[in-house]
Structures are given as structure tokens and as C-alpha cells.
């Protein structure tokens, strides 16, 4: 029987929700503040060895010889892994389009600085690193290709010699009558933008412990895994194992933001375990390794874009040409990242036609991976910057230009030209609220005053949509082998009434265990502190995906509701049998299964579970003595993309408008954030404190991307960033304490009306800051079209002008 998932909180079997919608304390926090959570490096196994990895110092070179004899002779060294082993035992990673994947460790040649070349397993990490110094590798240097221009030049060296080109993918999408709207436009605004590479940088790097069982030919990997089942399938493919012989145990993670998972590190540790007769091998990536070549470097992009407008400011068309430097291979799903803007290509606006020309290029930089937001943050910066240029040219207030173009609240569900369907929204309402919150008029007045004093003060008003809860068809748009994106949970009740929720993912920071406990406690009418949420390893877990694409809060809510609905059905049958009536006469309300109309007659959830587990004689025929239910939730109503990539790929569309005021210091190029205001609308807020945390965290990462962070490479493709001294993660001094408010326009189709909101402000903040900076520069006739708008870059701009 089909299970209906409640889309509103008033459909829950409770007279009033006690936990959902409240900023309840998180169940995960007491252990985290006590320092007792088992992050992977806290775990040791008997006989465990430690892995260290020798990495390429060259961006492009042929390996002509490797001598590991001295390393092997070092006391404490148990095994050394080279490309020869890897070629014999592995396949290149399967997550890239055919032919563009790497082995976990270089085979024959190196393609980027930081690529693993040799790995050692020893009795301590210290000895393993000593051993690396004894390894001799000889290289024949090859010319690197350092950027897309070089890579696409005729006769360029090939990053992948099995391919005839460095272009990984090139295609165009046309939605609507783009040529016509541009031909008929009263005004066309076009600009080029450069978004330099930034990255996730969670405070915990990747780590794992892998153990190869030689008798069973099976593999167990414990580690900081974001998407456990997906990781398991990937390891099975690259290590040539049946998928059911790979078990992934996901540990709590010190942040993720997209790139958490370490397929290369896992494969290397697994192979070292295989080489040491199955001893467990731990690999902990260090920060320098992460910064050189870890997961999470993202968005190395060159944009050429235009919007077409009518004289009244109506935007009719949007064209984007994107050249994306994917680095040395497409192993990190960069192709999907470039295609994700399809989910919200035209943002909050009624733009009727659009065009996207996508060229993904391989170079000798490190491969790129997903980072929070996964594609749209740079895209939004392009669209919103063009809106601001247009507003300036039309002498319209940027807020007003946006308002004129918003999709109206009555137009939902709204299908954007690129195919995705937005579920609901109230963009003008969000704008009104944030302008009021910021006291926009007086911000403009203070700006005018500052300008008369010669100060460079600017304001950004930026609106974005956050697509939430992706599905398999988001992969299918770019032809990458995908897997389904379900979320399965099991809810069980023990003989004392304690509730256990088993999920397939582990903690990463967003608070999904707490959301799970809130939902199950409200549904079953129990206290949150009777709920235990636990992670099942992949050998027993239900199909699941885990964190990604602003989906998990919504997905886990749906899964729990489904499981609880099933439990309710079973419990009603049991109670009806005991009370000698029909199941239809029994209802669940506030934690009691009771007779409709006679609530005094009934049993608590705990009593029913206890009865089921202890008195089989009282069970109705066909009911098992098992007060447990599983449910695997997927987004309803997904469809296949058409030839222009159009499909309903994301279930929900959250929205936000940010207002920010900045001042640029003429002497240093430093940007000071004078005020930062946010109004967002992500439907039902399951835990408002967690939503705010996601927003503010996204602001911090947006500040980093817009002003400070950059993976700098020199002209020879050598990375110049390898520590936090060079890669500037914002501290408490750089991140503004924002003023926030919100609207609630529930999703009509998502569980409890909640919309995905985990990526949050990173969609909006970079655009808002760049728009504010350009507003500040406008009186000088200057524009900054490159991120990060670092002090050096802005100083240069101001200085060159002078």
C-alpha cells in the first residue's frame, strides 16, 4: 500500500508538535563538546599500520624509475605500494566520464603536483614518513598545460594521452527562443568573469582505516565518509571487488562541505592492507596534502555572459559561456557541478529564454571536486552581477530591477527554462522584509554621505534560489554514471519503549541526528531523550545516499515519517486485536494507540512494543513480533531529462535575499563589511537554530570565496598554496555577524513542507559582496570581475587607475 508522507506538521498524530520547529538542543552536542566523539583518527585497531604518501613535485612528468629498496629496508616498514601494484590490481575511478579517470596512485606518469606516487605502510606515521625520504623516483619532465587556453591550443600536450584532446566535455543547451529575445532586446549587458579556484577545507581532513580480509577477499573501510554506499560502490569498482564484499563504516566527520570521502586515500590504504596480509592500515591526510590535492577544490572558472533586457528593465534572456578548468581529470564529478546550474539557471527571475555553452577542460592542476553549493555559487555571481550592471545602466535601484523580474508568488509551481520546477516561493516578500530589516533607505543615505567624503562605500542586494534535494536525473543531464539518491531508515522500539533510528550516514555537522530525533519523537509522542540515532554500516544499511545537494534534512524526515506511518499501521492492528475491534477503530495520538472516540481505552507506544516482543500469543495472525519498520524515501515524481537537459531534478527551491554594505580602503584594498542582512525562506524550519547555523556558516565560506581564499598556481602549474598561512580561511575577524529574519513559504510537496537549506548562504554571499564592491567602485568607473576580490587585487585596480 502506498504510504503518504505528511507535507504539513498538522498532519502528524499529535495535538501540537513539541520538537519540530523548535531550536531544541542537538543530541549530538554533549559528546562533541566533551571531546569523546570517535573521529577516525581517534580509533586504533590491533596490529594497525600507518600510511604515508609520497606525492609528485611535478605538474606533468613521465615516471622513468622508482627505487623503494632503501625504504623497504627501514625497520618498521611493512610494505610499499607503487603504480605497478596499482596497475595490476585496480581500475581507474569510475566516477569520471569514460577515459577521464585516474588511478589512485600514478601509473606511468604524473598529472599534477601532489598526485600520489608511492605509499608506505609502517608501524608509525613517523617511520612511514622517514621511509618516504628514502624512496627514489626519476622523472622525465613533460610540458604542463596550466590553464584552459593552453590546454585547448593546437598541439597542446595531452593530460590524458588516451584521449585526442584536453576537452573533457563540450556542449550547449538552448532553452526557448534565445536568438530572438537577444535580437529584440532594447539593451544587452555583457561581461566576463573569472572565479578562481577555492575549496571546502573542513577542519578535519580525510582519514580512514582499511582492512583487507584475504581469506574472504573482502574489504572493510572505516573513515570520514560522507556518502557511504556510494563510496562502497566506487571502491568495489576500482579495487575489482564484488560490491557486497566492501563494507564502509562511516565515522563522524569534522565537516564535509562536499569533498569528504577520499576515494584515493581509501584505495591506497586498502591495497597496503592487502600487501601486508590484511593488517589494518590507517591513512590520515594532513593539511598540506589536503591543500595540494585533497577533495574539495572547486570552481576554476572563466565566464562570458550576457543578459537581454527590455527598456522597462524586464530581463528576457540570459546567455552563459563557461570554460571550467577541471584539473587533471574529471574524477570528482566536476562535470555535474558545471551542469548543476540547470536546476536554477535563471535564478529568481521570469527570464523566458536562456543558453548555456559548457566546456570542461583538463589541465595539470589538481582535479576538482564538489564544494558546498556545487556549481551555482559562481553562476549566481555572474547573473547577479549582470543584474547590477543593468540596473546601473538603466539608472534603476538594483532592488527595484530585481523586483520587476521576480517570479510571482501565484506562478508556482514554476518551471524554469532550463527545466527544473520550483515548488513555491515569495521572492518579493523576502525582498520587502530584508529591505526593512536593513533599513535600506538609510543605508543608501549613509552611502551617499560617505561618497561626498570620498569614501568607497557600496551596497549589494542579491537574490538567489537554492535548489534542494537532488536526484539521479541531475547526473543524467551530463551523462555521468549515476546512482539513485534514496534515503532509508529503520525505526525500532525496544521492550522498554526506547526508540532507535538506524540511518545510513554519519554526522558531519548539519545536525541531522537531531532532526531525526525531533521528527520521530513528535510522531510517536515520546521524549527526544528516549531516541537513539545510530549509523548502520553499508553491509546492513538500507539504500541511502547521505549528505549532498541540500537534501538530507528533508530526505531523512521523509524516511522517518514513512517508517513511522508503517509502524502506526502495525500497532493499530495489534491494539485492535487486543481490544477485539477493527484496526480502523484505533488511532495514534500523542504517543497512545487508542479507541477513536474513547481515548481512555488504549495503550502507549511502549506498551504495544513491549507486548509485541514478549507475548506472541496476543499478536494477530500475520503480524511478526517486531516493533520495527523500515522506509526508503525518494523524491516523488522525478522524470528523465530531455535532449536539452530539462527535468525536475531538485525537489525544493529555497530562496534568500542578502543586503550587504561594504567599504573599500583605498590605501590597502581591504574590504570592510559594515552591515550584513539576510532574509531567507526555506519553508518549514525543522530546527531554526540549525537553519541559522547553516546560513551563517555559508556566509563565512562565501566571505572566504569572495575576498580571501584562492588556490594560487604559478605559470608552471606549481601550487603556491600549501598551508593555512597561504590559503586564507576567514577567522572571526573577517566574518560579519549577520542580522537575519525569515519567511515561511512551505513546500507543498516535500516532507513537512521543509526545503533543502544546507548550502545556504554560499549561494548568495559571494555575489552580494562582489555587487557591493562594484557599487563602491562605480563612481571611479571601475569594476572588479575576478574573485577573490582580495586586498591585492582591489589595490591593484585602484592603483592602476591612479
Amino acid at each position: 500500500m502506498a504510504i503518504d508522507i505528511p507535507t504539513r506538521t498538522d498532519q502528524l498524530p499529535t495535538s501540537a508538535t513539541r520538537f519540530i520547529g523548535k531550536a531544541v538542543n542537538r543530541i549530538e552536542d554533549p559528546a562533541l563538546v566533551s571531546g569523546t566523539v570517535e573521529f577516525i583518527d581517534n580509533l586504533s585497531l590491533p596490529g594497525m599500520l600507518h600510511c604515508a604518501i609520497l606525492r609528485s613535485p611535478h605538474p606533468h612528468a613521465r615516471i622513468t624509475g622508482i627505487d623503494v629498496s632503501a625504504a623497504l629496508a627501514l625497520p618498521g616498514v611493512e610494505a610499499v605500494l607503487t603504480g605497478e601494484d596499482v596497475e595490476r590490481w585496480c581500475d581507474p575511478c569510475f566516477t569520471a566520464p569514460e577515459g577521464w579517470g585516474n588511478y589512485c596512485l600514478a601509473v606511468g606518469k604524473v598529472r599534477f603536483v601532489g598526485e600520489p606516487v608511492v605509499a608506505v605502510a609502517a608501524t608509525s606515521r613517523y617511520i612511514a614518513e622517514d621511509a618516504l625520504e628514502l624512496v627514489q623516483v626519476e622523472y622525465d619532465l613533460l610540458d604542463p598545460v596550466c590553464n584552459p587556453d593552453e590546454a585547448m591550443a593546437p598541439g597542446a600536450p595531452l593530460v590524458f594521452e588516451n584521449r585526442a584532446t584536453n576537452v573533457i566535455q563540450s556542449r550547449t543547451y538552448t532553452w526557448g527562443e534565445v536568438d530572438r529575445v537577444f535580437a529584440e532586446a532594447d539593451r544587452i549587458v555583457s561581461r566576463q568573469f573569472r572565479w578562481n579556484r577555492v575549496g571546502a577545507n573542513p577542519t578535519e581532513t580525510f582519514g580512514c582505516i582499511c582492512q583487507w580480509d584475504l581469506a574472504d577477499n573482502s574489504l572493510t573501510c572505516r573513515g570520514a565518509y560522507q556518502t557511504p554506499r556510494f563510496m562502497g560502490i566506487g571502491r568495489a569498482a576500482s579495487l575489482r571487488l564484488p560490491a557486497n564484499k566492501v563494507k564502509i563504516i562511516s565515522h563522524a566527520q569534522g565537516g564535509g562541505f562536499g569533498g569528504k570521502g577520499g576515494p584515493r586515500g581509501t584505495d591506497i590504504a586498502a591495497l597496503l592492507s592487502r600487501k601486508t596480509d590484511g593488517r589494518p592500515v590507517k591513512y590520515i591526510e594532513d593539511r598540506m596534502e589536503y591543500l595540494l590535492a585533497g577533495g574539495g577544490q572547486s570552481w576554476d572558472r572563466y565566464y562570458d555572459a550576457a543578459i537581454a533586457l527590455k527598456a522597462d528593465g524586464t530581463v528576457t534572456g540570459f546567455k552563459v559561456r563557461l570554460v571550467d578548468d577541471q584539473g587533471a581529470g574529471a574524477e570528482g564529478y566536476g562535470t555535474i557541478s558545471a551542469a548543476k546550474p540547470l536546476a536554477a539557471f535563471t535564478g529568481n527571475y521570469r527570464i523566458e529564454a536562456a543558453f548555456y555553452d559548457l566546456t570542461l577542460v583538463a589541465t595539470n592542476r589538481a582535479p576538482t571536486y564538489p564544494y558546498r553549493g556545487y556549481g551555482p555559487p559562481p553562476h549566481n555571481l555572474v547573473l547577479e552581477s549582470l543584474m547590477d550592471v543593468a540596473a546601473r545602466e538603466l539608472a534603476l535601484d538594483p532592488a527595484e530591477l530585481r523586483r520587476r523580474n521576480y517570479i510571482g508568488p501565484e506562478q508556482f509551481p514554476y518551471t524554469v527554462p532550463s527545466g527544473n520546477e520550483y515548488d513555491s516561493g515569495n521572492y518579493a516578500g523576502v525582498l520587502d522584509r530584508v529591505l526593512e530589516l536593513a533599513d535600506y533607505k538609510s543605508l543608501r543615505q549613509s552611502q551617499a554621505k560617505a561618497r561626498t567624503e570620498g569614501r568607497l562605500v557600496g551596497i549589494g542586494v542579491v537574490s538567489t534560489v537554492e535548489p534542494g534535494v537532488f536526484d539521479w536525473n541531475a547526473y543524467a543531464t551530463v551523462g555521468v554514471p549515476g546512482v539513485g539518491v534514496p534515503e532509508g531508515v529503520k525505526v525500532g522500539i525496544d521492550v522498554f519503549g526506547g526508540v532507535t533510528v538506524a540511518v545510513g550516514f554519519n554526522l558531519q555537522g548539519q545536525g541531522q541526528f537531531t532532526v531525526a530525533a525531533q521528527v520521530v519523537a513528535d510522531y510517536l509522542g515520546v521524549e527526544m531523550n528516549t531516541v537513539k540515532v545510530t549509523t548502520a554500516s553499508t553491509d546492513v544499511a538500507l539504500p541511502h545516499f547521505g549528505q549532498g545537494g541540500s537534501r538530507l534534512g528533508v530526505a531523512v524526515t521523509g524516511a522517518i515519517l514513512g517508517a513511522c506511518e508503517k509502524l502506526r499501521g502495525i500497532f493499530c492492528r495489534v491494539v485492535a486485536h487486543v481490544m477485539q475491534t477493527d484496526p480502523e477503530q484505533i488511532e495514534l495520538l500523542n504517543g497512545r494507540l487508542q479507541m477513536k472516540g474513547a481515548p481512555a481505552h488504549g495503550m502507549s507506544i511502549a506498551e504495544v512494543a513491549g507486548l509485541m516482543l514478549s507475548r506472541s500469543d496476543l499478536l494477530p495472525p500475520g503480524v511478526e513480533p517486531c516493533p520495527e519498520a523500515s522506509f526508503v524515501w525518494v523524491s516523488p515524481n522525478r522524470n528523465l531529462p530531455d535532449d536539452q537537459g530539462r527535468c525536475r531534478s531538485y525537489l525544493t527551491a529555497a530562496a534568500a535575499t542578502h543586503v550587504v554594505q561594504v567599504e573599500i580602503d583605498r590605501d590597502t584594498g581591504q574590504v570592510a563589511i559594515l552591515g550584513y542582512y539576510i532574509v531567507d525562506d526555506c519553508g518549514t524550519r525543522l530546527n531554526p537554530a540549525s537553519v541559522e547555523g547553516q546560513l551563517q556558516g555559508g556566509v563565512a565560506q562565501g566571505v572566504g570565496a569572495a575576498l580571501y581564499e584562492e588556490y594560487v598556481y604559478d605559470a608552471q602549474c606549481q601550487p603556491l598554496v600549501s598551508t593555512f598561512v597561504d590559503y586564507l580561511v576567514p577567522s572571526i575577524h573577517e566574518v560579519p555577524m549577520t542580522v537575519k529574519d525569515h519567511l515561511v513559504t512551505p513546500s507543498p510537496i516535500a516532507p513537512l513542507g521543509a526545503k533543502g537549506c544546507g548550502e545556504g548562504a554560499i549561494h548568495t554571499t559571494p555575489a552580494a559582496l562582489l555587487c557591493a564592491i562594484n557599487d563602491a567602485l562605480a563612481p571611479l568607473g571601475l569594476e572588479c570581475r575576478e574573485t577573490p576580490a582580495s586586498p591585492r587585487r582591489l589595490w591593484q585596480l585602484l592603483h592602476d587607475k591612479a
Binding site: 571531546g35 573521529f39 613517523y126 569534522g254 549577520t738
Partner: protein, 164 residues
């Protein structure tokens, strides 16, 4: 081996005597020899502050300190804050929970130890003083706003408790 040395030190009120390699970092010693895993390591080059502990009452980076340098020291790590008997959280820890001052929690022990030092020296800090004190701790998740709230809350609770 000559590069090994015996050290004696107190960690969270317990005395330890261990022979360690001269090059062993204090972070590795605390984490992997004493099995106190709450002192996290985020960069190993002194920038992120995740490994912050107190050595003789002053905050220090365990990743930049060698175990042998801690010979004779009195060290406090995050594990030393909770009441051992009752499990009750220290007011600073409780304030981080109540004000949602953490997400992944990896940076949190470092922030808590820095806050412990701050409030010991300055029980009623201004926002600017809090920011100054926390400027050497990186958090990639929270955007710091709830951390600032947590420190304010901890200070006000500790002050109310002392006043009463």
C-alpha cells in the same frame, strides 16, 4: 635509543611518566599515547587552533609543542572539564550546547580551551575582547556568530554563579 627521553607530567589531574621519542609532538602524545582524543588536529602548523590545550594555565598549540617540552608541565585538555563523577558539563561546554556554538564539533575543543583561558583572565569580556581571544581559532562550519553567543552566555552564567 638516545633520542628517547622520559617525561613526567600531569594531564587533567593525573600523573603520567612515559618514555617518548624526542620528535613526538605533544598532540600525538596526548592523542595516541594517553588516548585523549578530544584534542583535535586540523593543520599541524599552528594556524587552526583545533589542538589548543592549557599548559600550566596558558593556552598552547599541542601540534607545535614537542612532548619532551611538556616535561614537568600541568596540562588541561577538553576531557578535563566535565565533572568526572556526575558527567555534568562545564559551564562553558554547556553554553556551547545551549547557544548552538558548534556544528561538526571538530574545532570546538580548541574554542572551549581558548574560552577557558579567556574567562579565567577576563570574566566579563566585551565582544571585541572575545573576538581578539578567539582570533586564532578557525571554524569552518558556524561562521562564528553562535560561538560568540556561546562565549557571552558562558561568561554571564559564570558571573551570575559567582555573584550568587
Amino acid at each position: 635509543m638516545s633520542n628517547r627521553k622520559t617525561i613526567r607530567l600531569t594531564v587533567n589531574g593525573r600523573h603520567y611518566e612515559r618514555e617518548v621519542e624526542a620528535r613526538l609532538t605533544l598532540a600525538d602524545f596526548i592523542r595516541h599515547e594517553l588516548h585523549l582524543g578530544g584534542t583535535h588536529v586540523g593543520c599541524e602548523h599552528g594556524i587552526c587552533g583545533a589542538c589548543t590545550i592549557l599548559i600550566d594555565g596558558s593556552s598552547a598549540r599541542a601540534c607545535l609543542t614537542l612532548a619532551v617540552q611538556a616535561d614537568g608541565a600541568n596540562i588541561t585538555t577538553v576531557e578535563g572539564l566535565r565533572n568526572r563523577e556526575t558527567g555534568q558539563l562545564h559551564p562553558i561546554q554547556q553554553a556551547f550546547v545551549d547557544a548552538h556554538g558548534l556544528q561538526c564539533g571538530f574545532c570546538t575543543p580548541g574554542f572551549i580551551m581558548t574560552t577557558l583561558e579567556l574567562l579565567g583572565e577576563n570574566p566579563d569580556p566585551t565582544d571585541e575582547e572575545i573576538k581578539e581571544a578567539l582570533g586564532g581559532n578557525l571554524c569552518r562550519c558556524t561562521g562564528y556568530q553562535s560561538i560568540l553567543d556561546s562565549v557571552r552566555l558562558a561568561a554571564s552564567r559564570i558571573n551570575t554563579a559567582t555573584a550568587a
